[in-house]
Symmetry: C2
Subunit: 492 residues, 2 copies
């Protein structure tokens, strides 16, 4: 493990974020909310810390798996710690732990909040909240399509051939190429959604904040009531469509934009994702009519579809208080929470491709009972999936259950009731946002004890980084052979 | 698929049960509860149906996997349908569906009840309830140690070498040998527990009924308040010990009885099982003190240990209303519900050996991230576990989750709240007995809608038969090449 490389890259990340921290200043000045100074201070702190790290740590030329894990894990933690400063310094969130919760919820595109009334933050802080989503989303797209496949995490090797075929020595340039392509798609989609939302009646500020939150499947809104505050079916529809788009693998979007329709049409994962969402929408729509939640079919469809896709992709926007829906709707939503969108999107959760492989694997095991000697390969998009990829996916799911159970035990261990405690873990581990009960769509996470909040912060980052990235840090083996950095000032 | 073989064996099963139906008559006459006639009628119906089947269907000499699945699955269904007759005919349970629920709960050793006040049944019906547990337990021991390993279900191949090494042509005699050995252990343990319970102050009737329910990890009691009704710490302790014993693989008990201490000491699964139980006991004990459920440490240990082991093994006896315990205790108990005891015992749930393999597999996957090329075999008791066994176990767990989610959706789909609905499914799928909320230890399953009860009956039998046995029946492939029976009367 080469700590020098890790330090240098983390330093550059902090420098990048300190630049991003300057953007909300424009809104602060325009709306005259007086918070610009806190962004200046935060940015300066980030720049100083990052600059010191980047300058003093000498990056070594070779970079292996182990450095990758550390950079990803500590990168998200450092971003959250720095991103919490504006909330904390401005006094908008007086507890630094709460500020870190909000900041981590932003960078991991979770969207869970500890704020009772978000409007009180003022425009510049609201913009920063949305921006952390958008930047986090950027990170995740590159992470899931360029970095994780190389690190071999949880079946993501499936995508190794998708965008780029990096060889070890060309790792960094390849990742940069991939990132440029994907971010251009991300940028275009954000611009289009902002424009459409403005046409539907939103102001520029609300429109760009919500576009940031939608494309990153984050879920922070500029209103306490979330999208319900706008009472506008056009806005509901536009956001629903963009939520669905945001849940699709960004490399597929890129191919579509470059005219490759076939890849889009051929993707089994896409069909599975759309199928699950449509099935759940119909189910929730019927249940909402049957149990009398809504009187008209159109309302039931409007609110049902919005909530199903918002939850499935882990966006977490709400247009209704789904905690008051019928139990079957709530169970459906909780099940969707675990699923997430497609791999290579900004969504959280297990991801559709893993669930699809899991299902294929199970079906094969049942078939084997009749013909024990029949060996059938598992295929995806008509290509054979290597056995080690399937094993990686199966291991991923078991790790998921383990983390879920342990985290739920800690949270309920502090006296939180079962529904609130377990859905708080589900909502953070899968980067959804709201849960049920005490953390339902009309509630927030402020009431939970501090230790629970800390556990949920870890859940957010662990879920975001596909668990393995964090789990590997707990192996004693991982910490062997640490190369301490060559400090620049001590170089001969 | 040879329907003749299936029909003949099911016929013999019904004949066997019709004999068992005569046993409660002794208690009916002794206590003069007037129910003896209903047992005579039920027995006669069973004998006629069974006799007709056994006589008319010609068993074919060869028997394969597919016949095995059908016999096991339909065997349990037929037993439940026949076993429901005494409840129904006597009018004690006026709805036949409810009677089937109670009967299936008995034969699957679940212990979930639809009765508000069990004492109202009278001694002979209470004895029949306990006897269905005991007979079901007998069936399960043989199933899990002699039949399922041959059918290759869910990793049970691990035990193929344990007791017997059956070759195809010697299948039936081998199973009979194995069964004889295991049942002798079962019988001895039942006799010892009955004796000890009588020494602790129970009457013979209560003692034998509770011994039946303990050794089969069933959970039906002769009292509505379950074991709490006796207010006797000795009885609590004896039952706790026998619950722990009942959760151990019966082939280990046999080896211990035949002087082979080493097998007992060497079993990794046994250590894991005891470790989980002890850890959970300590956790619940501390939580009960911390949250003020009990004032003294001794009470907290007494009720905590009893409930932890009762739930872990799926017995489902209660000495306390654990639905009113702190949330963390309830989450712990729900987690234990999924686990179950050791494979080869009468417990329900996933089984300790599968959880242990699952954990080893996950740990290996995380290690692989650091050394992607290191190939490490998974071992159990110092023997390598074949890859296909691990795959079978992983497939099992995914099927488990799928059945759990679908069943919970159907149950909550009828308006039952989330906690009641999900724990009703957990409690039946894992053959526990009571759940939480509306199906908590001081409640019963009578209030659920009929469709929910039917789904839960399927959960009980599916969980009991390790899911695969039932799942395989849903494959179209399974129903190919059906050999219709050669009827005896149409033979040339």
């Amino acid at each position: 493990m080469r700590l020098g490389t890790i330090g240098a890259l983390l330093g550059w990340l902090l420098i990048f974020l300190s630049v991003a921290l300057l953007l909300p200043i424009a809104f602060s000045i325009y709306y005259d909310d007086g918070n610009w100074r806190f962004f200046v201070i935060s940015s300066a702190i980030g720049f100083l810390l990052g600059g010191t790290l980047a300058w003093s740590c000498v990056s070594e030329p070779e970079m292996g798996h182990r450095e990758g894990f550390a950079i990803v894990a500590f990168g998200w933690l450092a971003a959250a710690a720095l991103g919490a400063l504006p909330y904390y310094l401005s006094g908008a969130i007086p507890s630094y732990l709460n500020a870190c919760f909000e900041s981590m919820s932003g960078f991991t595109t979770t969207g869970a909040t500890i704020l009772g009334e978000v409007e009180a933050l003022g425009p510049s802080l609201l913009f920063w909240r949305a921006l952390t989503h958008w930047l986090g989303g950027m990170g995740i797209i590159v992470l899931s399509l360029a970095i994780m496949p190389i690190l071999g995490i949880g079946g993501m090797q499936l995508f190794q051939a998708e965008m780029a075929g990096p060889t070890k020595d060309r790792l960094v340039p390849r990742i940069q190429d991939t990132a440029r392509i994907l971010w251009s798609v991300y940028f275009i989609l954000t611009a289009v959604e902002t424009g459409l939302l403005m046409m539907a009646g939103m102001g520029f500020f609300d429109a760009i904040c919500h576009a940031f939150s939608t494309l990153s499947t984050g879920g922070f809104s500029t209103r306490t009531e979330s999208i319900a505050a706008f009472h506008n079916p056009w806005i509901d529809s536009i956001i629903t469509v963009f939520i669905i788009i945001a849940g699709i693998n960004f490399s597929l979007h890129y191919r579509l934009l470059s005219g490759n329709l076939r890849a889009f049409a051929r993707s089994e994962e896409l069909r599975f994702y759309l199928g699950i969402g449509i099935f759940a929408t119909i189910l929730v729509m019927f249940a909402n009519i049957l149990f009398g939640t809504y009187e008209s079919w159109s309302d039931s469809l409007r609110y049902g579809a919005f909530q199903v896709w918002s939850i499935l992709t882990g966006t977490g926007f709400s247009t209704a208080d789904f905690d008051s829906w019928a139990p079957v709707c709530k169970i459906t939503l909780v099940t969707l929470m675990f699923m997430g969108g497609m791999a290579g999107s900004t969504t959280g959760g297990i991801k559709q491709v893993r669930i699809l492989m899991f299902w294929k694997f199970t079906r094969m095991q049942i078939k084997k009972l009749i013909h024990p000697k029949a060996v059938e390969a598992i295929k995806l998009d008509n290509r054979k999936v290597p056995a080690e990829v399937i094993q990686s996916i199966l291991g991923y799911l078991s790790l998921y259950m383990l983390v879920f159970v342990v985290a739920t035990m800690i949270v309920t261990g502090q006296g939180t009731d079962i529904i609130t405690g377990s859905t708080a873990v589900i909502a953070t581990l899968n980067n959804i946002g709201p849960g049920l009960g005490g953390v339902g769509p009309c509630q927030n996470f402020a009431g939970l004890p501090d230790l629970s909040k800390a556990v949920l912060i870890i859940c957010m980052v662990a879920g975001r980084l596909e668990l393995y990235t964090i789990a590997v840090l707990f192996l004693p083996k991982y910490w062997k052979d640490v190369h301490y950095p060559k400090w620049r000032w001590s170089r001969s």
